[in-house]
Amino acid sequence: MTSQATALQRASLELVIDRSGRQPRLKGWMFFTVVVVAAFMLLIYSRVALDSSAFVLNDLEGQIVTEETRYWELRLQVAEMQSPQRVSRAAEGLGLVYPTERTTLEVAGVEPAGTDIDDRWADLKALLSAQP
């Protein structure tokens, strides 16, 4: 083949760019990138959410401790206020005195006040079981 013939043959050739063949590969990469970024963001978000939940839990635990302390302080206050010494002093302060004479009333059909301690303990235990 002569060089002239070759030149003619080249001139008849046309450069064809197949755009449809390259476009899907770019989309795939973009999709992959978006998924990775989204997963990463989700991971960060979940980590932050977990961390903030831990802080909230920490705060709640602190509140529980504070309230439990308050509960015991109140129980102590109640016990101190019910103490016979304090009641006696308060009664004396109010001018109360022991009676010099005692009168016993007998009411038909009414039993004397009992001292069934177990019944009283049942009530108390129910009360104590409500404590934190």
């Binding site: 129980r75 103490s83 016993t104």
Partner: protein, 564 residues
């Protein structure tokens, strides 16, 4: 000028290569050491830097009275301490702290100027007082949690409850000591990951071995009866200028101690302000010679053995010399007395005559059967068994007579209350108890066991109760009468043995032990007063105290008056 020797470039490259090789080999070896051979050690060091193990103190159990009133509780508290080397301005810091901890700023300044790395500022401060102080964020001032044991009723039943050591809440006296193992619980552990600043790393390492809280102890003590008993005892001791006193209130059918009071006493919340001797529960730990209250056992033994009957008459002289001792009564002339009269008027000579018919062996057997010479079994620390020598060690002539009237034998107030409980409880001795039950942290309850054994027959016990009523109605214990109730009891007055002199001195122990009501006994009350100055006899000193305590306790228990 010489020329530097020529070194070929190849030789230099070899030298550099060798140096690099050596360096990399050294690094590699070090890496192998760190990552391989010593990996575990370095990993452990890393963990140590991040992880903190903290002991979680177990909550100490509560001590309740029989009705569920708190007598000893543990509350959260904060201890304030300082590192004086880090305190910038001791004077200003002391002024700032003073009002919160209730200390003089001058004293505080001295503490903060110490050349030390640690000083306590205030131990176990209430949280509400400590929190504002913490908010001041003063340099060198630190805070730590330290639970505090508190006794909300102050000195009430202090010698029974006892107290704990401030540092570690370990029981040192009383029920706090005796039941320390139950009350303490098991400490837990907290393993937590912290950053360089000491803050907890969220989602870091976090392991908790929870502490097991201690159990609760429920006493047999009735708070109101205890209070009234303490009040009456204190008034009696002060009125008669006595050295001290003890009172015990016992439920004879169950052996439960409703009140146990000692005077002088102390406040466990501020025990450092009281003398060491006041901590003792004398009703359980101290002994005395029971004197005439012992006659109850002597006469009961004689009746039980059918040696005498209550109406039998003895001709009782004023004095009775035996060997080197002369026993006497307050009477001025010889009397014909029934056995009941001998008890009612507390005749020493009459009782010795009865004992002569009974014999030493039987007397000893019954004294032991009434619980003397043996620890009552409450489990209280330092509980005494008293002194009761075996009968084969008794002297031939005077030991029997002396023991019959309450000398030569030593008892605690609790033992004597339990012995009178035999008569109140139809002849059955019930072991006295101070603890009603133990409630574990899981709510399971372990009641104390009632132990009883028969000492005399119910008939003998009933006859003795009538004789004891005679003591109050016509005899030496008239001041023990209780308005609205028929009661009985026995007076006792014993010369105190003076160890420094080696003989009996002028001081006496005045006592009265009684039963109320006498027909259907609900209480035994023992009152023992040590060395009263204003009146010697049990009937004058201790009997009025019995009357007040018994009346108050009967009302508290809801026992209706019998109208007599």
């Amino acid at each position: 000028m010489g020329r530097r020797p020529w070194v070929s470039p190849d030789a230099r490259l070899v030298a550099i290569g060798l140096a690099l090789l050596l360096a990399w080999t050294a690094i590699g070896l070090r890496l192998f050491h760190i990552q391989g051979a010593a990996a575990e050690e370095y990993a452990a060091r890393g963990v140590d830097q991040r992880l903190r193990t903290e002991v979680l103190a177990a909550d100490r159990g509560t001590i309740f009275d029989r009705d569920g009133h708190e007598l000893a509780v543990t509350v959260d508290a904060i201890t304030v301490y300082a590192n004086p080397r880090q305190v910038v301005d001791p004077v200003q810091t002391a002024r700032a702290i003073g009002p919160y901890v209730g200390m003089d700023p001058g004293l505080l300044t001295g503490l903060l100027r110490k050349d030390a790395g640690f000083v306590y500022i205030a131990r176990q401060l209430e949280r509400r007082k400590a929190e504002p102080l913490r908010d001041l964020e003063l340099p060198g001032i630190y805070f730590t949690e330290e639970p505090a044991r508190t006794y909300p009723s102050g000195p009430l039943a202090a010698s029974v409850i006892g107290f704990v050591q401030t540092d570690d809440n370990q029981g040192l006296e009383g029920v706090e000591f005796a039941f320390d193992e139950v009350l303490t619980g098991v400490p837990g552990q907290l393993v937590v990951e912290r950053d360089a600043a000491g803050r907890v790393i969220p989602l870091g390492e976090y392991q908790v071995i929870p502490a097991e809280p201690g159990g609760d102890v429920i006493l047999t003590i009735d708070r109101e009866i205890q209070f009234e008993t303490e009040q009456v005892l204190a008034e009696t001791v002060e009125r008669f200028g006595a050295l001290g006193g003890t009172a015990v209130v016992l439920d004879p059918s169950t052996g439960e101690v409703l009140a146990m009071a000692n005077f002088p006493t102390f406040d466990p919340n501020s025990r450092a302000n009281y003398e060491f001797g006041t901590y003792r529960n004398r009703a359980v730990t101290d002994v005395y010679e029971p004197g005439s209250t012992q006659k109850l056992i002597t006469v009961a033994a004689a009746i039980e053995e059918s040696v005498v009957r209550p109406a039998d008459i003895y001709k009782v002289p004023v004095e009775l010399p035996i060997h080197d001792t002369t026993y006497s009564d307050e009477a001025t002339e010889a009397r014909a007395m029934t056995v009941s009269d001998i008890v009612a008027y507390s005749s020493n000579v009459g009782t010795i005559l009865i004992q002569a018919d009974l014999g030493n062996e039987a007397l000893y057997r019954y004294i032991a059967a009434f619980g003397l010479g043996r620890a009552p079994g409450t489990g209280f620390p330092g509980e005494t068994a008293g002194v009761l020598h075996p009968v084969d060690e008794w002297c031939v002539a005077t030991c029997g007579p002396s023991t019959a009237i309450g000398y030569g034998v030593s008892v605690s107030a609790l033992q004597m209350a339990a012995a009178f409980g035999v008569v109140a409880n139809n002849g059955v001795l019930v072991q006295p108890r101070l603890v009603r039950e133990v409630v574990a942290a899981d709510g399971s309850r372990l009641p104390s066991v009632q132990i009883e054994r028969t000492a005399v027959s119910a008939r003998t016990a009933a006859e003795m109760r009538l004789m004891l009523a005679g003591v109050v109605e016509k005899g030496t214990g008239r001041q023990a009468a209780v308005a609205g109730y028929r009661v009985g009891g026995k007076t006792g007055t014993t010369r105190k043995y003076d160890e420094t002199v080696g003989d009996y001195g002028d001081n006496v122990i005045s006592s009265f032990i009684g039963i109320a009501p006498i027909e259907n006994p609900r209480l035994v009350v023992a009152v023992v007063i040590d060395s009263p100055a204003g009146g010697e006899f049990g009937g004058q000193v201790a009997a009025p105290a019995f009357s007040q305590i018994a009346l108050s306790a009967l009302h508290q228990l809801g026992v209706p008056p019998n109208g007599e």
